[in-house]
């Protein structure tokens, strides 16, 4: 595998996996919270929140990347504040993870929200009559029944995060070994003469990862929903 892939290509694959992993992991709790709010609660500004969550799905990725740069760039208030705490995003791999997380966020929220809406609220009522407080109803009933949606959403978000290009390259650029993710590497290889064979290998890897993620997500959700059928 390492022979077949050059060191730069290999680094890009590993970086992409790392970026996608952390992007998915960190956005998961927030996605669960927001999906729960959107599915269960009525509040002022619900449509606005829904819109903001979905914005990255419809905005040109370059715009999202540029907005991130404006928000988290070194010279911005937020950026310099975070830098004082040792957290930097711009032109770092962590920035790539942030960009990927934001781009994948709508997919994650959608999948989880659907799974929450599929839960019969009557089960939660039954749990309450058995003595479970609201928090315990969530932990013992809602959360386990959401699991198929969470897993399906996470797998999908991971695949999306692996392939994120526009926002990433705008926000953290394309530095080999640091911020050059798989799609950025493919893009770079296509810019230099003779880079096609490297690009082709990365393209094949991308396809395998994307297909695998999709199949795994399908398999998981089908298996889980079969188990949970009433």
């Amino acid at each position: 595998m390492t022979d077949w892939l050059g060191p730069n290509e290999w680094a890009a694959v590993l970086l992409s996996i790392k970026v996608a992993f952390w992007a998915t992991l960190f956005s998961l709790p927030a996605a669960i919270g927001i999906a729960y709010l959107l599915a269960k609660k009525e509040f002022v500004g619900k449509q606005l929140l829904n819109g903001i969550v979905h914005l990255p799905l419809i905005l040109p990725p370059v715009v999202t990347g540029y907005l991130l740069l404006m928000a988290f760039g070194k010279r911005t208030p937020v950026g310099s504040f975070l830098a004082d705490w040792g957290i930097e995003f711009a032109f770092r791999w962590s920035g790539a993870a942030l960009a990927a997380a934001i781009m994948a966020f709508p997919l994650l929220v959608r999948a989880i929200r659907l799974s929450i809406e599929a839960i019969d609220p009557k089960l939660e009522e039954a749990a309450a009559t058995l003595g479970a407080s609201r928090r315990w109803v969530f932990i013992t009933i809602t959360l386990p029944l959401m699991l198929p949606g969470i897993i399906a959403g996470a797998v999908l978000a991971f695949a999306k995060a692996m392939g994120e290009f526009g926002a990433t390259i705008t926000f953290v650029s394309n530095i080999p070994g640091q911020t050059q993710t798989l799609p950025s590497a493919i893009y770079s290889f296509l810019q230099v003469p003779g880079g096609e064979s490297s690009a082709t290998k990365l393209v094949i890897i991308s396809i395998i990862i994307a297909m695998g993620a999709l199949l795994a997500s399908e398999w998981f959700s089908r298996r889980m929903s079969r188990r949970l059928q009433l």
Partner: protein, 360 residues
């Protein structure tokens, strides 16, 4: 342990105003669907949150709109058995049964093994709810509610989703859980059979108001309640599909009588179960000409039951089947029928329903 309820609430097209006490034993809330039974017990459980009034269980105030007391469902210590069992699909039967244990300090008086034995669910413990039959699910649901060591059990038509045989199998459990465990039960139903079988005390509801309450026999004899109850009296009979006719009717055979019903989608020759509502049937001395009803079936009077001061239930034997019809005492006198007399049942085709196939 006495439950005392005073509750007023209004929704778009429905208002509820009830005041009652449920003493020890099994109290049945009886009424047609839409009479406010479920709304009432949901309010007692804390699942229905609007409304005015007071609900107390012995000296515990569960709800008092005047002093703004509103205990959450999990603080009321009331077990609820729902119509659709509501078992948690991700947990095994055993985990379902033990669910309440995590949240409540349950005293020793509820013994897991005793209740499991009482309900006959020991062989099911390791299984998941989706592999259980309807009757099994409901027994587990009863056990789950009991094992939360409640001060009161609410049951919302717990047998309505089950077929006749399962109903008969489950009814005794409700009697036993009250007699053996001493937990008061508030049981909601629209079935007169269940009332007579279970109730120590009956509260009859109609359109959100209490019509009458008291001992089961007295309440069911009340003509207003009886009318509600009679609407639910049905007979079932088995017929065979003989053929489909060109005008959309299906021809059925019961013994040597022919019945015509609106299209039945079943293979020719197959047995179908029909349901006849006692209030829909007309009784006659002999066959009648010039009438729209397509079916006139000959039989003999098997028995006559008095259902209220003004009406009776006539059970007519047709071949081997018994069909009940509900008529006024005046009609009975006019027809001058007594047991053993031949008679004719007149049945409109559109009133013959294909009984639900047995579930679970």
């Amino acid at each position: 342990m006495t439950l005392s309820v005073s509750l007023q609430l209004s929704m778009q097209s429905f208002s509820l105003d009830v005041e009652f006490e449920a003493p020890k034993g099994i109290t049945v809330l009886f009424g047609e669907s839409g009479s406010g039974k479920t709304t009432t017990i949901n309010a007692i459980a804390g699942l229905q949150t609007n409304g005015q009034g007071r609900i107390t269980l012995s000296d515990r105030v569960l709800f008092n709109s005047d002093s703004n007391i509103h205990l959450k469902p999990n603080q009321r210590n009331i077990g609820y058995i729902f119509q659709e069992s509501r078992l948690f699909p991700h947990l095994t039967v055993e985990q379902n049964l033990n669910y309440a244990k995590r949240f409540k300090n349950i005293n020793k008086s509820v013994d897991f093994n005793h209740i499991v034995a009482l309900l006959g669910i020991k062989p099911l413990l390791k299984r998941r709810p989706n592999s259980l039959s309807g009757g099994e699910k409901q027994r587990v649901a009863i056990g789950r509610a009991l094992l939360s060591a409640p001060d009161l059990i609410l049951a919302d038509e717990p047998l309505a989703a089950l077929d006749g045989a399962r109903k008969a199998e489950l009814l005794p459990y409700f009697k036993r859980l009250n007699q053996e465990l001493g937990i008061p039960v508030l049981y909601v139903t629209h079935s007169p059979e269940e009332v007579l079988e279970l109730a120590d005390h009956v509260i009859a509801l109609e359109q959100g108001r209490i019509v009458t309450q008291g001992a089961a026999r007295e309440v069911m004899a009340n003509s207003k309640v009886a009318r509600t109850a009679n609407r639910a009296i049905k007979s079932t009979l088995t017929a065979h599909l003989v053929g489909q006719q060109s005008d959309g009717l299906s021809e059925l055979q019961v013994a040597n009588e022919t019945l015509y019903v609106p299209t039945l989608d079943a293979p020719i020759g197959s047995a179908v179960c029909l349901e006849l509502v006692a209030n829909d049937l007309i009784l006659s001395e002999s066959k009648v000409n010039g009438i729209s009803a397509l079916n006139q079936v000959c039989g003999t009077v098997e028995s006559i039951e008095t259902t209220s001061s003004s009406d009776v239930l006539i059970n007519v034997c047709v071949a081997t089947e018994i069909i009940s019809t509900h008529i006024t005492t005046r009609s009975l006198n006019n027809l001058n029928l007594s047991i053993g007399d031949p008679c004719v049942l007149i049945i409109k085709s559109v009133n013959i329903c294909h009984a639900n196939r047995a579930k679970g």
